[in-house]
Symmetry: D2
Subunit: 320 residues, 4 copies
C-alpha cells in the first residue's frame, strides 16, 4: 500500500498503534476523506473505542479485520474468531455497522469498494471481515473499469471555506439529547438492516439440507454440497455476504423444505449465533435441526467431515 497509494493520489500512514490508527481514521472520515485500515483480531479490539466514537459522530471509514486464531495473540491462521465482536460488540454502545464477509480475492476487492460506498451512504464505519487464509491468498481479480473521485461531502469538516461551518459532536450530555441521538442512530441501523442484507445462494432452491458458511469455510462447504448432491442428497449452500445485518430475508423463504441446517465455521458457534438471533427476531420458530461443524485455532473444517454431517441420519443437538 505504501508503494501503490501515492500513484492513486492516496496517502499511506503507518500509525504507532491501533489506538492511533482508529483516531487517524476518525479525523480522516470527519474531513470527508475515504480512509481504511487493516488489522487482525487483537488489534481490532483496540480500535473499538474509536469505532464507537466514529459511529456516534456519524463518521465513515472502512475497517478490514483479517481474523486470526485466538484468544489473545493466538496465531495468524484462519479462525473466524471476531464475528460476534464485529456484529455485537462494536464500541461499547448500542451500535452497529455493516459487516461484509468475502470468500474470494475478487470479493475482497469488490467488498472493499462496496464498504466505502456503504460507509459514506450511511455515514457509519463499515467492516470487511475475512480470515487468515484469505488474508494470505493471491488471486487474479477483475479491476473496475473506472474509479470515481467521490469529492468532499457537504457535511465534512474540511479545511476550506465551504466546509468550515460543519462541526460534528458526539457529546450529547443531557439524557434527553443523547436519547434522541440514539433514536436517530437506531433508525439508521434499522434502515441498514432492512436494505443491506446480502447472501450468495448455491443450489438452495430445492435443498433439504442447508449448509450455512462464510469466508474460507464456505469454499469447503461448497465442495461438500457438490459431493452430497452426487451422493443423492439435495444439499445447498447459503453463504451470508453480510454478517450484520444477517440476511434473514433471503434465508427465511428457503427454510420451508429444509429439514437440517449444517453450520460450518472456524469458530465456536459465532456464525450460528448470528443466524439464531436473526431468526428469533424474524419470528421464525420451529427451526430445522441445526448441526454444527466447528474448528478452531486455524484448523479449517474439511469437506469430508462436512459431508459426513450432511449425510448423518440422526441429527444430534448443537450444544453451546
Amino acid at each position: 500500500m505504501a508503494r501503490l497509494l501515492p500513484k492513486l493520489d492516496g496517502v499511506f500512514l503507518q500509525a504507532v498503534s491501533e489506538v492511533a490508527a482508529v483516531n487517524l481514521m476518525y479525523g480522516c472520515g470527519a474531513a470527508g476523506l475515504p480512509s481504511m485500515t487493516f488489522t487482525s483480531s487483537p488489534g481490532f479490539s483496540l480500535m473499538l473505542e474509536g469505532i464507537s466514537y466514529m459511529i456516534g459522530a456519524e463518521v465513515p471509514g472502512v475497517f478490514v479485520d483479517v481474523m486470526r486464531g485466538g484468544p489473545g495473540l493466538g496465531n495468524i491462521a484462519p479462525e473466524q474468531s471476531d464475528i460476534k465482536l464485529a456484529c455485537r460488540g462494536l464500541g461499547h454502545g448500542n451500535t452497529h455497522g455493516i459487516v461484509l464477509a468475502p470468500a474470494t480475492p475478487q470479493e475482497m476487492l469488490d467488498f472493499t469498494f462496496l464498504a466505502f460506498e456503504l460507509a459514506f451512504k450511511y455515514r457509519n464505519p463499515t467492516f470487511v471481515l475475512c480470515d487468515g487464509y484469505l488474508g494470505q491468498m493471491t488471486g487474479r481479480v477483475q479491476l473496475p473499469d473506472a474509479l470515481v473521485d467521490p469529492g468532499i461531502p457537504s457535511w465534512a469538516v474540511y479545511g476550506d471555506r465551504a466546509h468550515r461551518r460543519n462541526l460534528i459532536s458526539s457529546i450529547q450530555l443531557s439524557e434527553a439529547d443523547l436519547e434522541a441521538h440514539n433514536v436517530h442512530l437506531n433508525e439508521k441501523y434499522a434502515a441498514m438492516s432492512c436494505d443491506e442484507q446480502r447472501a450468495d445462494l448455491y443450489h438452495c432452491e430445492d435443498a433439504e439440507v442447508l449448509l450455512v458458511a462464510c469466508n474460507t469455510p464456505a469454499r469447503m462447504a461448497k465442495g461438500a454440497v457438490r459431493a452430497a448432491r452426487q451422493a443423492g442428497v439435495r444439499a445447498g449452500l447459503f453463504r451470508p455476504q453480510t454478517l450484520w445485518p444477517f440476511p434473514t430475508r433471503i434465508l427465511e423463504p428457503l427454510l420451508a423444505g429444509v429439514r437440517r441446517i449444517v453450520v460450518v465455521e472456524a469458530s465456536n458457534g459465532q456464525l450460528e449465533d448470528e443466524m439464531r438471533l436473526a431468526l428469533s427476531h424474524a419470528e421464525v420458530h420451529g427451526l430445522p435441526d441445526i448441526l454444527p461443524v466447528r474448528h478452531f485455532g486455524g484448523v479449517l473444517p474439511q469437506q469430508d467431515e462436512i459431508l459426513e454431517a450432511v449425510l448423518r441420519t440422526a441429527a444430534p443437538r448443537s450444544i453451546s
Copy 2:
C-alpha cells in the same frame, strides 16, 4: 480505594491508561493475586485485548464496568450500553466470562466477592456490569463477618521458590495445539454455562406477564409488578443476576403460563437479545409475545410506561 486498600493489606494503583490497567491485572492475576479494576464503557472497550489475553492464559481478575450512555464518550448517566460487549465481545476470540448484574448496593458488594470466587474457581476473568445510577448510589450494606486470605494458588507464577516452575503461555502457534487449547476453554465455558446461572424471581410462580430486567431498570420493573398485581394482572419479575450465562434453566420452567414477556431495559434490546439467543439454544420455540420497553442515553424506563406495556391488550411486535 486509595485510602481503604492499605488497611486491608491491599495495594491501590493508578494506571496511566486502560491498556496499562488491564495489563497490570494480567500480571497480578498471573501471580495468583486477586485484583480488580473499575471502568466505564469506553474504558472497558480498551481493555478487551488484555482480557482476551487473560482468558487465553487462564488468569483470574475482576472487572467492574459501570455502563454509561453511549456511543462514544456519551454521558455518565445510566444506560445499559455494554451488555452485548460483555456477553458476546470479550476479547476478539471465542471467549466468555461470567457477567454478574447487581441491582442494589448490597449486590454490588456481594457480587464483587462472588466475582473473585468465580474468577479463581475457573481461572477466568469475571465481570460485574452495573449502570451509572448504581455507580453513583450510596446505600447501607451488610459486610461479611470475616475475610479469608485466599493464599497464593499452586498454579501462580509467584516469585518464590515454590511457584517458580509455573509458566503460563497463551501462545499455541501450531493450529492443532491452539485448537486443543480452545477445546479445553470451550469445556470450561460449558461448565460455567451449566453451573453458574443465577436469577432473582419476584411473583413469577403464577405470572401471565413476565417482566425481564436487570440492574437499575429492574427496580422500576418491580414497582410495575406491584402496580399490575393491584390492577388485577398476574405480573412477575424475572431478574437475571448472571447475564452470561443467561439463566435459561431458571427461566424456561416459568414460561408455560406466560403469555407475554416485557423486557425492560436502558438499551436498545441488548438484554432481549441475550434472552432470545439463550432461548434459541435451549430449543424453546413458540415463545410468548415479547414486548420491549427501552430507553437510551441515561433516560430510565419509568414505572408508568412499564405498567402500560404490561396492561396493553394487543401485544405489538418488537422491532430490531
Copy 3:
C-alpha cells in the same frame, strides 16, 4: 506544511506524540529521505532519546526547536531556553549535532536548507534553534532559484534492490566495539567542530566593546551597537550562527582589542556558557570583562539596557 508539502512531492505526517515524531524521523532518515520536525522546548526534550539513537546510527534529520519560556510548559514567548540542551544535552550520550541559530526569516529559510545539507554531509541530525518571536514572525524571503532532488544515498536502508544490503545498527554490545564506534563519532564531531563554525560580524574590526548575541536578541544588540557608535563608543556585534560548534576561530582574532564583552541573551547565561567553554578549550585566557544582559520568561533585552551595559564605566562581574 500539510498543504504545501504535497506540491513539492513531500509528505506531511501528524505524529501522535513527540516520541512518535522522532522515531518516524529515525525511520525516514535511515531510508535516506530528508525529514524534519518542528517543536518547542518541552517537546524537544521528549525527542532526545530518539536523537541519541539517530546519532548513534548515523542517521540524518533536521529538528527545528522554537524555544519558549520555561521551565515546564512555561509560555510560548521568546526565551532562549534550550541552548544548553541542544549544545550539551543531545541524547544521553557523548553526542553532538550542529546547532544553527537564525536571526531573521531569511535565515530561518536558508539555515533550514543548510541544515539538510549538513545532516546528510555528516550523517548526523542537525538543529535549527530559534525563539518564540522568530517562530511567529512573517517576513519576505528570497527563495532559492532551484531545488535539487538529492536522490537516495548509497548507504540508505531503502526498500529497493540496490539498497537492500544496507543495515545500520547502533548496538555495539561489546565494550571494545562500542568504544571504537565512539572514537569514530568523536572524530566526526571534531571535523564538524573544525569546519562548520559560522558567525556574522557587525562593526567588529575595531570594536573595544563586543556584543555577543544570537536569534532575536541579536536584533536589539545591533541597534545598541549603532547607538553606541553614535555615542562615540567603538562597539561591535559578534553573532554566532552556529552555537555548536561555537565559532571560537572567528571570535578569537577579534578579542585582542576588546576590553569588554557584553553577552545579550533571553536566558540565564546559556549563550555565555557556550562561549566560555569554547574559549576555555581554545586556551584563550585573560578574557576581557564579561557583562551579561539577561532576561527570561519571554521578556526580551531592550536596546536601552544593552546600551547602558555597553557604556557602563566599571565592569561588574557576572555571577552564575
Copy 4:
C-alpha cells in the same frame, strides 16, 4: 525494592514507561511524599520533560541515573555518558538540580539519603549519577541508626483538610510573571551553587599533579595516585561529589602549586567541561595544563595509563 519497600511503609510502583514514571513522581512530590526512581541513560532523557515541570513547580524528587554506554541503547557497561545532560540539560529550561556522584556502595546509600534531604530543602529534584559498574556492584554498607519520618510538608498538595489550600502552578503565562518566577528560581540555583559544593580530597595538599575523577574511574585514579607517589611524583586526587554545582571553591585553593591536571573519565570530556566551565566562572585564568585520560563504551581507564599520563614529561594539549 518491591519486596523491601512495604516493610518500610513504602510503596513500589512499576510504571509503564519513563514518561509515566516521572509524572508519577511529579504527583508524589507535589503531595509532599519522598519518591525516587531508577533509570539508565536513554530512560533518563525521556524523563527530562517531567523534570522540567517538577523544577518549575518546585516539587522534590530523587532520580538515580545509572549511566551506561551510549549513544542510543548502547550497552549497560560503565560509561559516564550523561554528565552534561544532568548538569546542563535538565529539562528544556533554564534549570538546575544538584547532581551527586557516588564512588562506592556506601556513598550510593549515603548520597541517596542526602539527595532526599536536599530535594526537600530546596524543593527541587536531586540527581544521583553513577555508572554501570557501581550499579551492578554489591558491597557491605553501614545503615543509619534511625530513620526519621519526614511528615508531610506544609506546602504539600495532600488530600487532607490541612493541606487542601495548597496549589502549585508552574504556568505563568504573562512574560513578566514568568520572568519573576525565573528570577526566583535562579536565586535558588545560586544558593545551591554556593552552599552545596562537595568533594573528597586525597593527597591534594601538596599535589603538583592533580587527578580529577568521579564515580568508578575515581577508584582507578586513586590507585594511580598511590603508584605515582611511590614513583616520587606528588600526585593527588580531587574527586567531586557534586558535579553540579562543581566544587570550584574547594578546587581553586589547591591549584596554586599544581602544574598539571589529569582528568580521568569514562566519557569524552564531559567531566572536564564541567570543570572548565566552573573555573571560567570562578575567573580562574592561567590554568595548569589539562591532560585527559578518556574511555568510552564501557571500557574503564586503567591505572597504568593514568599513571603514564601523570608521569609524562611534556604535557600535550587536550583536544575537544
